[in-house]
Amino acid sequence: MENQMFEILRYGIYGGSISLILIGLYAALTKRSLIKIVIGLSIVDGGIHLLLIAIGYVKNGTAPIFSPGFENAVDRMVDPVPQALVLTAIVIGFAVTAVALSLVIRLYRHHHTLEIDEIKNLKW
């Protein structure tokens, strides 16, 4: 029973994170609006962060914090490294999104449109 739950959870988390990645990519690749593309990229980021967290999970895991009462739970602690990485990755993703949105504002100022098909003065 417990195993079954774990399996379902596993499928849910991995499947969910991978679907998030794919959904985000789909948005980034097909949507016409720049804002939607940026949103798509953010969704991809979110999916990847979830994926990273998921690979550190252990069965019946607990947070890797040695709070009083958890001093001897080392075996059950989830892998802390992906969590640390995700912390970094979130901030970086946020920074990139901020820059992207500011560029969108600049593009809107210059082209008065958000359609990516109409913003191709530079080509070939």
């Binding site: 690749l29 593309i37 080509k123």
Partner: protein
């Protein structure tokens, strides 16, 4: 000492450029000094066989000169110095002369460097320096640079890169860049390489010696460079291709099994070059273009000689190479002088300069005679030996082709001489004066050289002999020219002497006759002076003799001329550019498409990962 020569050349080139910014006279002096000083040092101090070696990023390089190189150095240095003197008055008043002269020096240096190279790396380096310095000369006057200049450079680059490919293949097989190692170990290469290497090298040399079908750059480049430079461009620089070809043909090709076919092909290409060059030369109305095509044709003869490769043929080819340097150098100088004095080099515009520029005419006359191969001047000796060797080696059809070509050559010889110097005088050219002495003397010297070599071929046959012996032509008699019925063992002519004297007598007679005739009251007419026919020609009608000069002949050969290879190259180039224009549209400009490419990239790799990564 060898280093010093090149250091002086290089430093001279740089100083020439810099001094060009200070004062013109200083520049001219520096220029001449940087040509003459190393030349003198070279002939005074460098012995054949003396080498220096050094190593550069793991390649062993070696410089030194051998007999064959020594022979070619006569052409390079002699023509270079004379053209240097000629250039000073000829180029006077042009812009950027510092640049011109320093490139001039670099060209001479690179050609000498090629002769000095005993290894392939320095050979290639000097070859490329020669290429780009001559390219800069071709575009120097700024005419048609995007077409003519780029065409020259592209063909040179194709040649040079073919050569480079051969060089790296040789290095990978031999682990040595020395030419001598190549020659000694060539027999042990596998057959594919034995074919590939000489062909690649021949493509490289063929471009510079304007061999069909790699000749299309020649006419434009020769005629667009300043004439002072074209005289060495055609006279000496193209001989570097011949030099390389001689090495390949003598040292490598005989080793190839069935290499006979390569020889024959090259010989036939040479012959076709000769015919085609001649025909095109006949069709030209511009002296520069005419001479350019004539150069192509003459180089064709030389290639035939080199490719046939019997000792006598080789002797003929090398002799003709020297000869061609002399007379073609002189002829380009003549054209330059005419162009400088009149402002054009078109036959249909300039006529009747014989009285205005008699010395130039004399030089032109002698060079043309040499070119046409009329005894007693040097051209005859070369052609004679070529025919003799071809017949001797049973290349009868080749003889006929060559003979046709050299007969047709009379047509353009005549056109050149007549177009500029004979015919009616035009009022327009009444003010024209003889070119300055500094221009006339070099060309007369060159023209006189053809005469001397015609009378005493032994002067140059001796070095040729030494060079051929060094390359390992098995010698039975000691001196190869004894094989020709033309010479005795001293290398001067016996059969020719009576003819020579007879012709000198005829010349003297005509000179006297003409002079006496000149005293009489002669009426000189212009082209428009044809009132007797009742129809008065209009002012703007061009009635110069040279208009449609050989129209009947050209009409006959028209089908031959229509298939200009040039056109196919141009079509090819345009086609490629259109293709490239199409392919670059993968960069659509849409950021999303680029992202899609990235996904496609990863999907392809993922789908085929088992095959791609060898799982």
């Amino acid at each position: 000492m060898i280093y010093l020569i090149f250091v002086i050349f290089l430093g001279g080139a740089a100083l020439t450029w810099l001094s060009g910014k200070i004062h013109p006279i200083l520049r001219d002096v520096v220029f001449l000094a940087s040509l003459i000083v190393p030349s003198v040092l070279f002939y005074m101090n460098v012995e054949v066989g003396q080498t220096v070696s050094f190593s550069l990023i793991g390649y062993k390089l070696s410089w030194g000169i051998n007999y064959l190189g020594y022979l070619f150095s006569y052409i390079v240095v002699g023509l270079g110095v004379l053209a240097g003197f000629y250039a000073i008055p000829a180029m006077k008043g042009k812009k950027n002369l510092g640049f011109f002269y320093s490139n001039f020096v670099l060209s001479i240096m690179s050609m000498l460097g090629i002769l000095f190279s005993r290894d392939l790396i320095s050979f290639f380096i000097f070859w490329e320096i020669m290429t780009w310095s001559s390219y800069l000369m071709v575009v120097f006057q700024g005419k048609d640079v995007q077409k003519v200049g780029i065409k020259y450079f592209v063909f040179s680059a194709i040649g040079a890169y073919a050569m480079l490919m051969a060089i790296v293949i040789i290095y990978s097989l031999n682990q040595s860049m020395m030419i001598s190692d190549l020659v000694s170990s060539f027999a042990s290469f596998d057959p594919t390489m034995q074919w590939l290497i000489p062909i690649l090298l021949l493509v490289g040399f063929g471009v510079k010696s304007a061999m069909m079908p790699l000749h299309v750059w020649a006419s434009g480049s020769y005629s667009h460079a300043p004439m002072a430079y074209t005289s060495i461009f055609s006279g000496a620089l193209s001989k570097m291709g011949i030099y390389g070809m001689v090495i390949v043909m003598v040292s490598l090709v005989p080793i190839i099994p069935e290499g006979f076919w390569l020889r024959e092909t090259i010989a036939w290409l040479g012959a076709i070059t000769a015919v085609g060059g001649t025909l095109w030369a006949v069709a030209q109305d511009d002296a520069k273009k005419l001479l350019a095509y004539s150069s192509v044709a003459q180089l064709g003869y030389i290639i035939v000689g080199v490719a046939v490769g019997t000792p006598l043929a080789m002797l003929a080819a090398l002799f003709m190479a020297v000869m061609h340097g002399l007379f073609k150098g002189a002829l380009f100088m003549v054209t330059g002088a005419v162009e400088r004095q009149t402002g054009t080099s078109n036959f249909t515009e300039v006529t009747g300069l014989i009285r205005k520029m008699p010395w130039t005419f004399l030089a032109a006359l002698m060079s043309i005679i040499a070119l046409a191969g009329i005894p007693p001047l040097g051209g005859f000796v070369g052609k004679w030996m070529l025919y003799e060797s071809l017949i001797g080696s049973s290349h009868y059809i080749l003889v006929i082709v060559i003979f046709f070509s050299s007969t047709a050559a009379f047509l353009y010889c005549y056109k050149f001489l007549f177009g500029f110097f004979l015919g009616q005088e035009e009022k327009e050219w009444a003010h024209v004066k003889e070119a300055p002495a500094m221009m006339v003397v070099p060309m007369l010297l060159l023209a006189f050289g053809t005469f001397v070599l015609g009378a005493f071929p032994g002067l140059i046959l001796d070095p040729i002999n030494a060079g051929m012996q060094e390359m390992g032509f098995a010698s039975t008699q000691g001196k190869y020219w004894e094989m020709s019925m033309l010479f005795n063992e001293w290398g001067d002519q016996i059969m020719l002497q009576p003819i020579l004297y007879a012709i000198i007598a005829v010349f003297a007679f005509f000179a006297i006759f003409l002079t006496i005739k000149g005293f009489k009251k002669t009426r000189y007419v212009t082209t428009k002076d044809i009132s007797s026919s009742g129809e008065v020609p209009l002012e703007h009608e061009n009635l110069t003799f040279s208009v449609n000069f050989f129209q009947p002949f050209l009409r006959t050969v028209e089908p031959l001329m229509k298939r200009q290879i040039d056109k196919y190259y141009n079509e090819f180039g345009r086609g490629m550019e259109a293709l490239f224009d199409f392919t670059r549209r993968v960069y659509t400009g849409n950021g999303q498409t680029y992202a899609l490419y990235a996904v496609i990239f990863i999907v392809i790799l993922l789908m085929f990962k088992n095959t791609l990564f060898g799982l």
